[in-house]
């Protein structure tokens, strides 16, 4: 799969999780959307997201990396770096 398609696939995974789990308006979710200020997640919601991503993608998200994630795009990029 080419890099652009992989990036879009990872984005769609996160987008569908955010819509399904938090009933966020689809139009609000973009690569540049801030998880906390735009999408209104709090730290406990972020923990839920980490748990789901780790479970579905069979990966571990390191705590110091998690602390840097602010935008939807940050999560996409992390997934791309740590999955094949």
């Amino acid at each position: 799969m080419d890099p652009t398609a992989r990036r879009q696939e990872a984005f769609e995974l996160i987008r569908s999780y955010l819509i399904d789990q938090f009933e966020i308006e689809p139009a609000k979710i973009s690569f540049e959307a801030n998880l906390f200020t735009d999408l209104e997640l709090d730290s406990i919601d972020a923990l839920d997201m980490v748990a789901v991503l780790e479970s579905r993608l069979k990966m571990k998200i390191k705590n110091d990396e998690l602390k840097k994630m602010r935008l939807v795009g940050d999560v996409v990029d992390y997934i791309l770096r740590h999955t094949s």
Partner: protein, 252 residues
Amino acid sequence: MVSRRPRDQAGEEPRVAIVTGGGRGLGRAICAELAGAGYYVVINYKENEPAARETLAALQGSGAKGETLRCNVTDRAGVKEALERLTGRFKRIEVLVNNAGVTADGLMALMPAEDWNLVVNTTLAGFFNFTQPLLTHMVANKRGAIVNLASVSGLVGNRGQTNYSAAKAGLIGATRSLAAEVSRLGVRVNAVAPGLIATEMIGNLPREAIKRLIPMGRIGRPEEVAKVVRFLCSEDASYITGQVISVNGGLL
């Protein structure tokens, strides 16, 4: 905070319960109760393998399934590795009972630092080491019950037990804090505070004197605590989280 929907649960996987310090005393009784509730029970022990095997044999004898897990709760790397293996094998680890604990009683003025560290670390580091790695697993399943064994000593100070009281009071604080973090993610966290229970841990206390202090007039039995643990792990306790349930015959 945004709204959330519950997730569907898996069907056929065994439901697993892990009990630290499960080989003897209260731990053994808790393993028996959880096995009776249908859990596959992982009996953690530090070094007393015969006792752990006896606990396993008893629950297998009543038709339940389980295994022993040798691991010192204070060995962070060892615990992490063991839990990684378990979460790799089992999709539904739904219960963790943090029961491992020790006493090293003595007046604080004369207490060696080693006795302080031993008791506090076994309880609090043990709680962290076993609980933290399991949280994302339980949250991903949207299902988990964590029960921490505190003590009447953690609720009121008991002379000769500054270390034990500190550890158990700390465990109660951690119970409430963790409940505030993960309860809306489907994981309930509670504590049970036993009073004086007939186990090796109180073996040397003057029983007749103790009985005068307890309104029910007797020391408790391990299964009387274990049944409360079982309840807290069950759906009957579905709206109970962040609580400390005392089982003490009216002592407090």
